[in-house]
């Protein structure tokens, strides 16, 4: 029978087939661990006298809590420090490889795994982190889970799972100049909504995705969870293989050829059907900015913030009004007229080398608007190293951007990088929830190019708006 990509990967990982009453038991090829969602899971193992079944399929790093400045100093926040120490202790006790703060391979978990070549097509990958969907860019089935499930995977290397629905998101045609992967996914979420993907695995199809680099595909798949989806996937192709070849954990020699044969079979069969389908015309897309407090509340950069009167029903009116009030907007203003206090370039959505290059291209030879605070936070030690080798750090520093150490940083403000109440931020991250980047902070999600242009202009801008 004709199958979709996600069904193929799913079927190849069933350890014990379920039925109407019982879920399938899926084998997990790779388990990524970070300091925030794992301590209670390791504690659970100890209480039950269980071990880690496959430490060799498990890897850990520190990302959420790590400071991005002064990392040679002791961590000021004792609670953060304790959480990182606990991770190190747990990894030591259970024999799990850890990339700790200061290690060149340390970084945001969803940046380091692809970079190490651990993320490969057709694998099942999990992490106690919702943005695990990122790894779907390689044609892996990758999804986030809670701490009880982290414990489950540590103990068994499997997870009981009900088969989700399938959903196809097609974007065909050529993206207009200046429209990036981030704009595509913001437009998709704006259309299908924050619940549009609930209970489904999205497969992104069509020439617009084929034309994206791996970094761009990761940006797209990363935000699948923002549409509520279980996972997001893109079929692997020559772009994928070229990215993987030669990475530390990628197969080599004869194994590479064998792997390639398998990887090439990972496409949706002709005639396979999806439970849901949406289609977009790439040529009609534009740069997008979120205006509200969930990632479905987006507007075009050349558009206006909606007004509660635009709502279709009372519920929507209410949520627009609530979001506007939190965001300190009145509704109806031109997006380009809104001034920002801060610009954050980073996060597992947009902190890879290509993202930094895009931002640096805009920053080169220009100056950040006086009064605008900026942070550029590379996704990993390796990204930082490469950026510095290319001289991107100099471009940023000369333009007045603050160049930092790798980590999650202001994406969720668990470390000292936070917004103050009322502070308005253009952010390349993935969540504009109330208080996400600091209590009372106002987040607008944008692409790296728009973030850099906004830092220079002081109001939301595209690179071509700059003098």
């Amino acid at each position: 029978m004709a199958q979709t990509l996600s069904e193929k990967v799913w079927d190849r990982h069933v350890v014990h087939a379920g039925n109407a009453a019982e879920p399938d038991l899926l084998y997990i090829d790779l388990h990524l661990v970070h300091e925030v969602t794992s301590p209670q899971a390791f504690e659970g193992l100890r209480l039950a006298g269980r071990g880690v079944r496959r430490p060799d399929l498990t890897v850990a790093t520190m990302d959420h809590n790590v400071p991005t400045a002064g990392i040679d100093q002791p961590i000021a926040d004792p609670v953060s420090r304790r959480q990182m120490e606990v991770l190190a202790e747990n990894c030591r006790q259970f024999g799990i490889r850890l990339y700790p703060m200061g290690h060149r391979n340390q970084g945001i978990v969803h940046v380091i795994s692809p970079e190490l070549g651990l993320t490969q097509p057709g694998m099942t990958i999990v992490c106690g982190d919702s943005h695990t969907s990122t790894h779907g860019a390689f044609g892996a089935l990758a999804f986030g889970m809670g701490t009880s499930e982290v414990e489950h995977v540590l103990a068994t290397q499997t997870l009981p799972q009900r088969r989700p629905g399938t959903m196809s998101v097609v974007v065909d045609g050529e993206l207009p100049v200046g429209v990036t992967a981030k704009d595509v996914i913001l437009a998709v979420i704006g259309r299908i909504g924050t619940g549009g993907g609930i209970g489904h695995i999205i497969e992104y199809r069509g020439s617009a995705f084929r034309g994206l680099s791996m970094e761009g595909r990761m940006t797209v798949c990363n935000m699948s969870i923002e549409a509520g989806a279980k996972a997001g996937m893109i079929a692997p192709d020559d772009t994928t293989f070229a990215y993987l070849e030669g990475r530390p954990h990628a197969p080599s020699g004869a194994a590479w050829e064998k792997a390639l044969d398998h990887w090439r079979s990972l496409t949706t069969d002709h005639g396979a059907t999806f439970d849901k389908e949406v289609v977009f015309d790439a040529s009609a897309l534009a740069p997008h900015v979120t205006w509200g407090t969930n990632p479905g509340q987006v507007a075009r950069l050349d558009g206006r913030v909606p007004h509660p009167d635009d709502a279709l029903d009372a519920g929507e009116r209410d949520s627009i009004a609530r979001a506007l009030s939190y965001m300190g907007l009145s509704g109806g203003e031109a997006v380009r007229s809104i001034p920002v206090d801060t610009v954050f370039i980073g996060s597992c959505t947009n902190s890879r080398i290509e993202d930094l290059r895009a931002a640096a291209t805009v920053a080169r030879g220009r100056k950040v608007k006086t009064g605008v605070r900026t942070l550029v936070v590379p996704g990993s030690g390796v990204v930082k190293e490469q950026a510095e080798a290319e001289g991107l750090d100099r471009i940023f520093i000369d333009a007045g951007f603050d160049w930092r150490q790798p980590g999650c940083s202001m994406c969720l403000a668990m470390n000292p990088d936070t917004l103050a109440p009322g502070e308005r931020c253009a952010s390349t991250s993935n969540r504009n929830f109330e208080g996400r980047q600091g209590r009372g902070g106002r987040s607008h999600l944008v692409s790296p190019a728009v973030a850099a242009a906004t830092a220079i202009a002081g109001t939301f801008s595209a690179p071509e708006d700059l003098a």
Partner: protein, 196 residues
């Protein structure tokens, strides 16, 4: 996990949609390495507003949270479930849930009750009119009832999860019962697959 058959009691009506897990438990609380003590962090930003529904004395000691669509979307943090449980909630009623939140709930012993949009709206109005209205959730019959007003509705939970909730079963133990199948599967894994 303790077996759960019936959840009954007063209901807090949180009439908002898209309540994400960052709102349920803000990230500052995630630094704890224990599973307990998260109740104080539940909706901690919203609780700073005196008018917030959880601050109203008539809603004290409720065991059920009634809320809008897409409850628990966003971050995978199970801390959101622990915070709701620690505060005293045993069930959440909503028209829809974030997938990961829903999963986490049933692992930790919080019952996710999905009602139709209209049923949820009807119950919302009834609770807003009478904060003392008693609601009974029956995990065995998969029903939500408010006897005083004659409200009754069904909700879906798959048979496996229902069985686990009713028996208070440890998921890990159930999977380990398939140890032979896991070993057999491992023997068939391709040799190029990466190790860390």
């Amino acid at each position: 996990m303790e077996p759960i058959h019936i959840v009954s009691g007063k209901v807090v009506p949180l009439d908002r949609s898209d309540v994400d897990t960052d709102q349920i438990i803000p990230s500052g609380w995630l630094k704890r390495v224990e599973r307990t003590g998260f109740g104080a962090g539940l909706f901690s930003q919203w609780r700073e507003e005196p008018g917030f529904v959880l601050n109203q004395p008539e809603h004290a000691r409720a065991t059920i949270l009634l809320t809008g669509a897409r409850f628990g979307v966003g971050s995978s943090r199970e801390h959101a479930v622990w915070a709701l449980l620690d505060y005293g909630f045993r069930a959440v009623i909503a028209p829809s849930f974030g997938d990961i939140f829903r999963n986490n709930s049933t692992k930790a012993g919080l019952v996710p009750v999905e009602l139709g949009v209209e049923e949820a709206a009807e119950l919302m109005s009834a609770i807003q009119a009478d904060p003392d209205l008693e609601v009974v959730i029956d995990v065995e019959r998969l029903t939500v009832e408010a006897p005083k007003i004659g409200f009754t509705a069904k909700f879906p939970i798959d048979p496996f999860t229902q069985h686990r909730l009713l028996e208070g079963l440890d998921d890990i133990g159930l999977s380990l019962a398939h140890a032979d199948a896991i070993m057999a599967y491992e023997a068939t894994r391709a040799d190029w697959l990466p190790v860390t």
